[in-house]
Amino acid sequence: MLWLKRLHLRIRSVVQRAALERDLDQELRFHLAEQRAEYVSRGMTDSEAELAARRAFGNAAVLAEQCRDQRRTGWLDDLASDARFAIRTLTRSPGFTWAAVATLALGIGANIAFFSAAYGVLFRPLPYPEPDRLVEVDLGFGGVGPTTALRDLSGLVEYAGYQPEVEATAQLGGEAVRLQAANVTWNLAKVLGVKPVLGRWFKAAEESAGQHRVAVVSNRMWRERFGADPQVLSRRILLNGEPYEIVGVMPASFGFPAHDTEAWTPIRIDPLNRGYMWGNLNLWPIGRLKPSVTLMSGEAELRGVVERIRPMFPWRMPDVWGRSSRLMHHSDALVKDSRPKLLALAAASMLLLVIACGNVANLLLTHWLRRDREFALREALGAGRGRLVRQVVTENAILASLGGIAGAAAGWILINALPALLGEVPRLQDIAIAPRVVLLAGVAVITTFAILSVVPLIRSRLLHGRVDSSGRDNVLRQSTRLSLALAGLQLAMATALLIGAGLMGRTLWQLANVDSGIRTSKVTTGTVSVGPSRCGTSDRCWAFLQDLNATLAATPGVRSVNWSNGIPLTRQTSAMSVDIEDHPKEPGAPAFVLWHATATPGYFSTLGIPLRSGRFFSDGDTRASMPVAIISESTAKRFWPNETPIGKTIRPVSGKVGRIIVGVVSDVKHYALDGFPSWIDGVQYVPFEQALPARSSNVTQLSVFVEAAETQVSALQGAIRRRFPDVVVSDLKSIEKVRDDSVSNRRSMAWLLSFLAALGLLLGVVGVHGVLTQRAAQRTREIGIRMALGASAGDIAATVLREAFLVAIAGSAVGVIVAAGLSRFLRALLFGIAESDVVSYIAGPAILILTALLAAAAPAYRASSVDPARTLRSE
């Protein structure tokens, strides 16, 4: 291990410098003494010997230096002294240092955070073996399809099914808790390629109804609720009132379909029931391509399988059903909705970094200009050009490192805040500082460093021969022209950010002005999940709800309680294929699809949905009475433009009995503020009681609407808990909050972009202000002469303002082009405005130009108040 020993020797050379120096000194003195002793022994006198020995020895200092050189640590000494000097210089101008480091930290921090989010969400491999073989099915319409039939008929792809985002009520001890559970096919673990860390996954037989019930729990649940007890496998858990035996614990990294899924149960199908395949149409398919199967061949097979499934439906399916089925990579499908958002933010953070670098480059330019004299002096005292350049590089390296470290810290903070800032983005929870992020930070720092070093190098070229040239003005002019160009670049990027923020802001504004159709502010909504123990039959379920109604109505301030199958504006689809009277369809043609909402009699008046004609539901519309429906105004206009829809019939494609339309109500944006999915043809309401399934073995999700003078969420929750300890109502919030939350995705985007734009604008304007101030200061003499020759203060101010105006115009022009290039990332998030929204494209540059002019006001005033007499005398 010779190299190790050498390393040790090098380190000793650095660390034990004093001891080595002492040894060296002693060694050389010993030599001298021996030499003198030799001369004495040859008969010289002491003083003669001393002199002779010294003569023979030569220059001891040079020899010592030669010996020192052998340690090869001189560069380190130089570096250390450069660094010491640099730190001294930086601390001597703290304003400059802070400004530069903070600016870099902002730019680098934002980049680290948004790029690692984009990488972590969009490109990081999924935590399954061979994740690129996982596929999802798009049947070309809104529904999810007969997943178990797909599974049974496919040979090239193994399909599994899952019911996403099912809330369950779990009881472990006394208290009921709400958690995310997933109903899945038994082969899901096999398709994903995961195994439980404890116990086992489901068996195929456990999908059959009648088997005793089993569940697999998440690692988190195992640790937090069972204290990581290995004996958990024999324990039972009550899910929605039914006992389940825990048979397995999943690894901590497993979070499917959602990162917070806590329990998995097998779907239950009745093999004796011929139509079982259609009982689980709400299972989402996920598949794994078998070895050597490609996406293309899998898709070809899928289309064939869909052709075979279509005639198996108990009712006639449209001929085009499933014709355009596609397979997508699961990794793409998972993040489809987040992709534009994350890419737009990454692009925006890059623009911010450009602004930050431009700003620091300008700061440096000014900084180095101020140090002209120092450099001239050092050059005159004999500092080589190489030594000066090394000094510049060392100082910038330290500055860039400080910026990088501060940026990494800022990025780390931002990454941790991202889940709260970005809203619903899959996979965002487990983003950490990964090696790639460190690499990214390194690249960012090196890039910055390179940019920072280029500036003084350009300067040193510009300054070549400066020492003898008497006129400094020309050189300075050139470098401030460079500053002006950099400021223009910053303004361009700031313009692009402003336009982006403007587009999102306008989208929010448009959404805020959408009429949801709901006019009330006193309603609180919530979701109740009830299992078969309470809602197994419609009679039991109805009785339970009456009981729950009474409990809620007894809470102080509550005026009415109503029920539905969903909460408006939550993007949860509920649709039904129907035949509509007067609109016959050819057999095999696609049926009409109506939005399907259930409602108790008071639903409409509670939510402030006015009646247009006919009647609301009444307490007389029971399971025993005639099936009735209410449709929305636009549905009525579409299907019966010239006559009344009252008395017409709507019949579900899968049923025999039609419903008589008894009323028309005004439109409600049930799906989202930006409208219904394109495949929805209209909206029908059905009496809540009539829509309760006669028999149910699954979990029923019900939405409650409580009208109260004051919303007291905790009072409602407490009342329910006291009466029904096993029932938890989740997501209790006001209807206004529901509307607010429905645009949270776009709002977070608008805020983040506005924040980045504000930072960019601030940095850009500070940059312009600095450059103009400096240019005005340099031109004091010129201004003095012009004023002496008759220019008014206004003329001088106009010169400065014109410069600012021109830079801002040029910057805006470039910024508009950049924004036009980048706004396609935002396309999917916009609402009510075009991607080339004129208002945003005019307002962004206008704000920028105005702010730039404001920033120019101070230097303009200072320039115009130059006293020509004093200026000219001082020259």
Partner: protein, 109 residues
């Protein structure tokens, strides 16, 4: 008399390694021993000797130790390390190859 600059490049290292291969020797004595052993032909100047010693030490081939000489003065004694022994063997072999080759050229048989 040969001056140090006349020493063939690299041979000073070999001379030093060889001189201290038996026992620890200090700088002054190394110069003296080379001088005596070569019958006053090779005179190593301190300007070459000490940098060479420090270089060899940094290479890890020799190590030093401060102790008293017989006359009671404190001096820095150099000795070979294990790596130094290997290095000496290597340089010796190289030197022999070189000198044989030179003598083949100079005194053709």
């Amino acid at each position: 008399m040969a001056r140090p600059s006349d020493l063939i490049q690299g041979t000073l290292d070999l001379l030093i390694l060889k001189t201290i291969s038996q026992e620890p020797v200090h700088g002054w004595a190394i110069a003296k021993r080379i001088q005596q052993a070569s019958n006053d032909v090779l005179l190593v100047q301190q300007g070459s000797l000490y940098p060479a010693l420090h270089r060899l030490e940094q290479q890890g081939w020799i190590q030093s130790e401060i102790r008293e000489t017989a006359s009671g003065r404190v001096a820095k004694f150099y000795s070979l390390t294990r790596d130094g022994k290997k290095q000496m063997a290597k340089e010796l072999e190289q030197w022999e190859r070189l000198s044989t080759a030179i003598s083949l050229v100079v005194n053709p048989a």
